[in-house]
Symmetry: C2
Subunit: 561 residues, 2 copies
């Protein structure tokens, strides 16, 4: 397998008749999935999602794919194909449409409904084309065939893109549940047919490539919920992802079986389930749904709250309930079910919520002690089925950290794909499919684009480093007022520290030294503000390093009066 | 079971003949384990460990038990019994001995050797008493019998403390490996004998109480290492905990079997294995150990590096190797084995290291893809054996978050301990054993004590909140120089922001408004610095909140000239 090469240079021009693939996100991280296909000067975008920040990216709300590569070529984009409605596949669409609003969005009915709801918040009305599995659409030079796949959200699609360069099959996110709630399986007949015709490049979900075996069918969660509901004699609170229509469906069914009413909690849960039931993806048993006010009036043993917050998000309903800071007061004997995965990095937050709930006296059921969650991504066993039925000529693992991409590539090789036909690329790496052969030809710049509040791309990695220093060590501000006429220190120096675990009085000790240093510098000819600030930074820096053994951010300010 | 009650008040005096137990750490968190037993006015401390901080405690190095409860009673302490040599049981000893250096330390040979090495760094030479399993020592009013237990470090001891109030059995950390490498099993014969005589209070490790079944024997890791070593034809790097003597033993054995030499890396690994082999706990096959310089000269297929850093600690050898920032340059085809658990909260850091190593081309074997780690703590199945062989009169689960304590308590109840005899206490809760019955009688203040650099207990939760705000939102400093004689703004206002994802130029917009606000305030009679600072804080705060939609820390400074 060809490993990614960080030292790649800009690619040469795409040979005539070839197809170029550049991922602007999703290769090297789980999230911000986005691939750009190019043929005959035209572009097709597949997915445009967001990535959620880690704890070493403080204050960041979202991370976007880097649009720099296509910023000057927006008019070449034929369409954005959206494989399904998860945030890591659609969340960055508003930011791309801000650059060109009329790029057509192509996706299934539910996917488009979710992205339209999101775009409404950004006050954007998109141009859309709804497609179904089996449908073929010519999007400029790209012939797109849509194939049903099963995932943890309904109505997901893979897309087979055929051009003169050959056929690319992109799975989106998928798994192969053979007993899905809606009967809509990943269409292996279509995969077989595409394989017979020849798949030149297989772009395939890597998320669970390290996990051996097969994902348990979603439907097996139903009986577990049923048992837990049967044991509960007070309130039940279920937390899960707000887009997991089938999980919610099973909660509605269990509630119905046990004579309970369900109230949705959390803005995204209410919105998404409204959309899903309106479009027929969620079947609400007669009379089961109530609003929160009505739920509060019901006896404890007749209520289920279906909530967001399964990842321990501090502002979500579940965290606030665990802190006793929500109008639904969880009490002794209530049952809380976290019907969700535990996304790496969220462990501490989730366990804080679980401990809080247990302290109140609730019973907490979660994936660590009961089978209340199954993954949405194909495990190694399922991926091998795909490789064997498709027999692709070239493979490019997508969606995952390096470890996932490498594990997926190894599966391809074990199924018989020649190692040199398995392309392990990272974000920005340029892969050309020419004469039936895919290869890495270069790379384009592709960084993280941070969204923080209303600013997009303003935060740099240097600024994040500043934040980490501020967060870990605090800061020391040093001021002095210099009389520009006389060159004398008119007022100060004065020192103020925050977040430093030191009494501000400790800095009194360095003030005489600081005054002397400033006066010496002025006498020695230093006059401009910058020079004097450097003198203050050095003097205070030496003091905190040697006397306090700390490395706070030092912010010197010289005010001229 | 009696749940902990945060609203408890100070306890009444301990009735004559009774025994009081107060945990100053370890009940509600995994770490900083410390219990204080009191009888007839005398105190016995069991363990004195540290807790490692989470990501919402930025800049904190360690968290100590809160010594406040015993600060005025240091002279009443008979001894500190140390159950084993892990940091979460011995790490805070130097901080307690700083308060009174001659408190005797009682523990096994290896435990004392580890704590003495630590105390040497703090320039403290302790008073010690080495004990062995089966030994009985009268420590003032406390008769202590030491019982062998098996754990992930050799020479661990449980302690049975008998006074006129009855017998307390404290397990320390333990599991019940029936095939331990050193043949030293948890002494169930002693447990049986103590049970026959009567255990009045059983203080028992809760860490794995949520995990069903039994821990796999440590010895089963050997063949897995052997297989991985057999597949490797380049260098092998193994990372594990630097106190896990038996894990290291198995690495030495595997290396020996495959004709490889082993070099220890990391200060604590070198130090601890030196101690362990000197005392006979580690058996080094003839000629297997080499130093790093010699290892660098050997062919790749004859080397094993045994390293620290299995939790992704950024400064440890393994992280630096993953970043290419270490003299051992990991290369394509090398094998890295993380023979360790993945401690919750460390996932992102560990996966960053794994991804870095895979990107370089290394094969990475870890507990997620091979059986290269087993836990050191008894699972539910083992705990049930203990409850059944001991039949304790009262149970107090220790060592764990609330969820662990509650799960352990539930096991006690299922084994037949009456629910009202299971005491679920948190840090600071006071439990009295009187007339054979344990009960919660109150609570004493017991907070987190943060160590940051050289400061102990200086950082408050308020300061940590400051750090979180600084880290997530940055800060805005606002200065103005006021002429105290005229009451005029002499210089400024001037604004400086850091970590805010905004160009500093944006603040130009608020300066005129700020000047006006200051002048109006002075005209309106505001004169003291505090009032003027509040005016600046309000004006700038309103600006950043409404115009930039941010909530940075705002630091106003008025300099008087």
């Amino acid at each position: 397998m060809s490993h990614p090469h960080p030292e790649l240079s800009l690619p040469p021009a795409l040979p005539a008749g070839g197809l170029r693939v550049v991922a602007l996100g999703g290769l090297g991280e789980v999230g911000r999935n986005m691939a750009v296909l190019e043929h005959e000067g035209r572009l097709l975008v597949i997915d445009c999602g967001v990535l959620f920040p880690e704890d070493n990216q403080p204050g960041v709300d979202l991370i976007l794919p880097d649009f720099e590569y296509i910023r000057d070529r927006l008019d070449d984009i034929e369409a954005i194909v959206l494989t399904h409605g998860h945030e890591d596949h659609i969340g960055a669409v508003p930011y791309l449409l801000r650059l060109r609003q009329d790029i057509p969005l192509v996706g299934s009915q539910l996917t488009l409904a979710f992205v339209e709801a999101k775009l409404k918040e950004h006050r954007i009305t998109p141009v859309t084309l709804a497609v179904k599995e089996g449908q073929v659409e010519q999007l400029g030079v790209f012939e797109c065939e849509f194939v049903a796949v099963n995932h943890s959200i309904p109505d997901a699609l893979a897309v087979a893109v055929t051009t003169a360069a050959g056929t690319v099959l992109h799975t989106g996110d998928f798994k192969m549940d053979q007993l899905p709630l809606d009967g809509r399986i990943t269409d292996l007949r279509a995969f077989a047919r595409l394989g017979e015709k020849g798949v030149d490049l297989f772009m395939v979900d890597s998320t669970n490539a390290e996990v051996p075996g097969f994902v348990t069918p979603e439907v097996e969660i139903g009986p577990v919920l049923d048992t837990v509901f049967g044991q509960a004699d007070k309130r039940i609170i279920v937390a899960s992802f707000s887009s997991h229509v089938h999980r919610v469906q099973q909660v509605l069914n269990a509630a119905h079986n046990h004579g309970r009413k369900v109230a949705f909690m959390g803005r995204s849960m209410v919105r998404n389930m409204g959309i899903a039931s309106e479009l027929g993806y969620l079947t609400v048993p007669e009379g089961v749904l109530v609003d929160q006010r009505r739920a509060a009036e019901l006896p404890d043993d007749q209520v289920v709250y279906m909530s967001t917050g399964s990842q321990g998000e501090p502002m979500a309903a579940l965290s606030r309930m665990a802190n006793g800071d929500h109008k639904v007061q969880v009490g002794h004997g209530d049952t809380v079910i976290l019907a969700s995965s535990l996304i790496p990095g969220n462990e501490n937050a989730v366990f804080r919520v679980i401990n809080g709930l247990i302290r109140i006296g609730a019973r907490v059921v979660h994936s660590g002690n009961a089978k209340v969650h199954v993954s949405g991504h194909a495990s190694a066993g399922e991926l091998l089925y795909c490789y064997n039925i498709l027999r692709p000529r070239n493979v490019m693992p997508v969606h995952g950290e390096v470890r996932h991409l490498v594990a997926n590539g190894a599966l391809a090789v074990r199924s018989g794909v020649p190692a040199d036909r398995v392309i392990l690329a990272e974000d920005g790496v340029v892969v050309d499919l020419v004469n039936g052969r895919a290869s890495v030809v270069g790379a384009v710049p592709c960084g993280y684009v941070y969204v923080d509040g209303s600013s997009v791309g303003t935060i740099t990695d240097a600024e994040l480093k500043d934040r980490r220093v501020l967060g870990e060590e605090g800061f020391v501000s040093v001021f002095a007022v210099i009389d520009t006429a006389t060159g004398k220190v008119l007022a100060g120096p004065q020192i103020l520290a925050r977040g430093m675990a030191e009494d501000n009085a400790v800095f009194q000790k360095v003030l005489p030294e600081l005054t002397t240093a400033l006066e010496n510098a002025i006498e020695g000819g230093a006059s401009d503000t910058y020079q004097l600030q450097q003198v203050m930074r050095r003097t205070v820096g030496r003091f905190v390093a040697t006397r306090l053994r700390r490395k706070p951010m030092i912010v010197p300010v010289v005010v001229e009066a």
